[in-house]
């Protein structure tokens, strides 16, 4: 199916009658996935949004259940169900891959997170291939392709040639049964005066200029737990949580509650392994009290531990932390340093 850019607004309006549709846009100066309405101007040229789409499945604050005692003094526990049909329209391939990582964590290995699952089952991912990766993008190096998003339900690839009207075209392909079913709603917006064969979609030749080699990184890291690199590297880290909060795959959370008179709410919030309190235990002991231990944990988890457990790196190469770290502690520089480290593996 060929979809013209000029048809997108109509399509988004139609889609938002049956689901909450999120599109990349700037809101109050921050680029993120914003709930579509007629007053929102989607911007499909953004690479990448400052905030990743992870909060749609894993909100920064998620109420899990309410509890308390009713008027007769009988205790109750009331789960909070807040899953809706959600369409994320215009996810980049790296963000789609990040959902794959979150699925591993929240749905596999014999443990299913019901809050995540409820949202995940009602999510439709519409991906948009990249034509112009940002200077901080390095997804190729992490085993991704900027123009392919295998887990997406529907993939839009900007077609190489714009037609005579100057209107950009997208080649639309369903990649799952869910995506195929969803395309029924799109039919009335497809371009009828042309066929798929007339367009050359953006090719796999699109590539990130930033490149790193992941060869041997995981294996080397297994032997680098006590390497001096962590002490040296962590000196400039100010242990804020920026990298973890803008990361599309960081998924650590902390469960807490607030009580008022006879009722309360249990909720979970994003937590960050950069924060001292992250590993602080009830008795006051902290196994990761030092800054270098915390920095090591973050990078080990991204580049070694996750791969050991799930067979893929927890970094998708989106470059958000590279761009936003206030002290330019750059994961790609670390990967280079690991590559250069004289460690047998």
């Amino acid at each position: 199916m060929i979809l013209r850019h000029s048809s997108l607004e109509g399509l988004l309006s139609t889609l938002s009658t049956g689901a909450r549709v999120y599109v990349p846009a700037k809101a109050d100066g921050v680029t993120k996935f914003v709930l579509y309405s007629s007053s929102v101007r989607p911007d499909f040229s953004i690479t990448n949004t400052t905030m990743p789409p992870k909060d749609l499945l894993f909100p920064q604050t998620q109420h899990m259940y309410r509890y308390g005692t009713d008027a007769e003094g009988v205790p109750y526990v009331e789960p909070v169900h807040d899953a809706d049909d959600v369409i994320v329209f215009g996810m980049r391939p790296c963000d789609v891959r990040s959902i794959e990582c979150m699925d591993d964590v929240f749905l596999t290995k014999g443990f299913v997170d019901v809050s995540y699952q409820a949202k995940r089952e009602r999510l439709l991912m519409v991906a948009m291939a990249c034509t112009a990766p940002a200077p901080t993008c390095f997804c190729n190096s992490m085993g991704l392709c900027p123009t392919a998003a295998p887990l997406a339900d529907i993939l839009l690839r900007p077609a190489g040639a714009t037609d005579a009207s100057g209107d950009t075209a997208y080649l639309v392909e369903a990649q799952s049964e869910k995506g195929q079913a969803a395309l029924a709603q799109w039919e009335s917006y497809k371009a009828t005066d042309t066929s798929d064969a007339d367009f050359e979609p953006v090719s796999a030749a699109v590539s990130c200029s930033l490149k790193v080699s992941m060869v041997g990184v995981k294996d080397k890291l297994e032997a680098m737990f006590d390497h001096p690199i962590w002490e040296q590297l962590s000196k400039k880290c100010i242990t804020c949580g920026t990298c973890t909060f803008v990361c599309p795959t960081c998924h650590c959370f902390d469960i807490s509650q607030e009580n008022r008179l006879s009722e309360g709410t249990r909720f979970r919030c994003w937590d960050s392994c950069m924060f001292t309190a992250y590993t602080e235990m009830a008795g006051g002991h902290n196994p990761r009290a030092s800054k270098s231990a915390r920095v090591r944990q973050r990078f080990m988890h991204k580049l070694c531990f996750f791969e050991q457990r799930y067979g893929k790196t927890l970094c998708v190469g989106c470059g958000r932390c590279v761009e936003k770290c206030p002290v330019a502690l750059d994961i790609t520089c670390l990967i280079d340093q690991i590559g250069a480290a004289d460690v047998a593996y």
Binding site: K236, I238, C240, P326, C333
Partner: protein, 305 residues
């Protein structure tokens, strides 16, 4: 600054760092080195004299460095590259009993304002800076740019950041003060709504040196964990009141903020009020604690008692 000025200062910095490390005067030199991207720099920690050539100085040294002295001083004396902002941060930490003057060796550098490596334009924090050059140092590595010091400029390229008047410095505050209360409320609600509470503002601040921040006092529970407008408002307002009379106006919090919150407008509101109510001195200009609210004199008025 001109390319030749930057190169001369970089050479002087490397030479001085090498000498200090080789002679054992300091254990580590904190400066900047080149990052991966064009013009990008990143904080550097040099303890081997042979590595001193990694240091760079120029228009893109965006990080203020003062706070790193706290983390490094356990290893011995720390040499820190200082401009106006860095040196005022050092003074502030001395005044707050976090640091002794003897624990640091200050390498004074002239500054004509730093630029954003991505855009090449002067950083917001440098546009409203009142003290470009170091206010205290052990050695001065180049002629003063003096853009913030009584007029005369020693470097013609300092023209991109002229002396900043109080009017310019408080422009954002004045604009907000003039707003109707509802509009002001809406402005800050929008800002606090997008705060992700990564705490980069607190961590980058040379005044935020509490061993345990109120945010982390989980048992006391001052700061709730939920991310919502009420909690975000509480965090941001408490932060600004806590540093209120000590803020050195380096603007590092606002630069570090990944969400673009107007943190300096809040900080400067405190600075402006303290100036008009108490005739308060600008913070961090000396090692003395001149904080209007954070110290007392026996001669203080006690009209309210």
């Amino acid at each position: 600054m001109s390319l030749s000025t930057a190169e001369a200062l970089t050479d002087a910095l490397r030479e001085e760092a090498r000498r200090l490390l080789a002679e054992g005067t300091v254990a580590v030199v904190v400066g900047w080195e080149a990052g991966r991207f064009p013009n990008q720099t990143t904080p550097a920690f040099i303890s081997d004299p042979e590595q001193a050539q990694r240091l760079v100085y120029g228009d893109y040294c965006v990080n203020t460095l003062a706070k790193y002295a706290l983390g490094e001083k356990a290893a011995g004396k720390v040499a820190v590259c200082v401009r106006g902002c860095d040196s005022r941060g050092i003074n502030r930490m001395i005044a707050d009993n976090q640091l002794l003057r003897d624990e640091v060796y200050l390498l004074g550098l002239p500054c004509s304002g730093m630029k954003d490596p991505a855009t090449g334009s002067l950083l917001m924090k440098c546009r409203t800076c009142t003290e470009h050059d170091a206010v205290t140092y052990d050695v001065l590595l180049g002629p003063a740019t003096a853009a913030g010091h009584d007029g005369a400029s020693a470097d013609s390229s300092a023209g991109d950041s002229e002396h900043v008047s109080d009017e310019q410095r408080f422009t954002a505050v004045l604009g907000i003060e003039e707003m109707a209360p509802e509009k002001r409320r809406a402005l800050f609600d929008a800002a606090f709504n997008k705060c992700i509470r990564c705490y980069a503002c607190r961590k980058s601040c040379p005044c935020c040196t509490c061993r345990e921040c109120f945010v982390d006092q989980l048992r006391a529970g001052w700061q709730g964990k939920q991310n919502n407008l009420a909690e975000n408002r509480f965090y941001n307002i408490t932060r600004v009141f806590h540093i209120g009379d000590r803020c050195i106006e380096c603007g590092e919090c606002e630069r570090a903020c990944p969400m673009g919150l107007p943190l300096m407008a809040l900080n400067r509101k405190m600075v402006k009020d303290l100036k008009s109510l108490f005739n308060a001195d600008d913070a961090g200009m000396t090692e003395e604690n001149s904080a209007a609210l954070g110290r007392y004199d026996l001669g203080d008025l006690e009209e309210f008692m």
